[in-house]
Symmetry: C2
DNA sequence: TGATAATATTCCCATTGACGTATATACATT
DNA sequence: AATGTATATACGTCAATGGGAATATTATCA
């Protein structure tokens, strides 16, 4: 992934907040939406932007779309994510996002679904899984 | 300096190249122009953009405007500059820029002028110095 | 099948950004 | 004062971006 593309993904505040969340692990759109407090359309659009540029990957779990950072990352991406993760600790928006993240993940069954590398749950009947 | 502002400065290729050059030390506009091969207006405009956002500082030396990264940098800026410096080594544009930079700095008297924290040379008669 | 939930897409508009051309400013030299 | 060099600004244009409102899509559930 080219360096400039990384920074283009980073250069909007909402996107930066989303990426900072995804560093901690996969998340569903509705959770991201709850945490960053932006409209559904807005969050979805930023996620599309990120997906188009290879910054995130998506899979479906029933009604949820679960986004995550790519597993295989270039050295540059990895360094910059690490750098972002460190730097974000000094700004309140990001800290606040992370504490909201904790609450979201605390909900019943959420962690289990997000942790799956693909959809394998009993409750899922999607043909796509 | 806010994190988002850093990435906004980083998210254009010409600006990223300029910043990568300035990591190595102060430079005059005409040198930057030579190295990145963009028009005078374009380079000047990007430098204005960076200056407006506190990413660079400028001083005049005779006809030259000398730009540099700020001496006092926030932790976030410092980390991201370091990260950029590392990552830039893997992409050819940046490597090529750095080798051009060497040639520019090799020219007679250039290093001396750029190294001055302010204009103190004998040949300078500006009232502003 | 119909209803609902979650997400994506389309249409529209305002803002920003990038860039070319022309012009202005600042300084040095003669 | 006139000229040359280096740099910045103004103006216009076009493309990209961000976001609201409405609608479409995909899956689940009754």
């Amino acid at each position: 992934m080219k360096l400039i593309r990384i920074y283009q993904c980073f250069c909007d505040e909402t996107r930066l907040r989303i990426i900072n969340l995804l560093i901690r692990g996969p998340l569903c759109v509705c959770h991201i939406q709850q945490i960053v407090g932006e409209s559904q359309v807005n969050v979805s659009r930023h996620l599309s932007y990120l997906k188009d540029r290879g910054m995130v990957e998506a899979r479906r779990h029933q009604n949820w779309m679960i986004y995550r950072l790519p597993e295989k990352r270039s050295v540059e991406l990895e360094s910059n994510l690490k750098c972002l993760q460190d730097c974000a600790t000094t700004e309140s928006v990001f800290k606040s996002d992370l504490s909201k993240l904790k609450k979201v993940l605390a909900a019943e069954g959420v962690r289990e679904v997000l942790a799956q590398s693909c959809c394998r749950s009993n409750s899922c009947h999607s043909k796509r899984c």
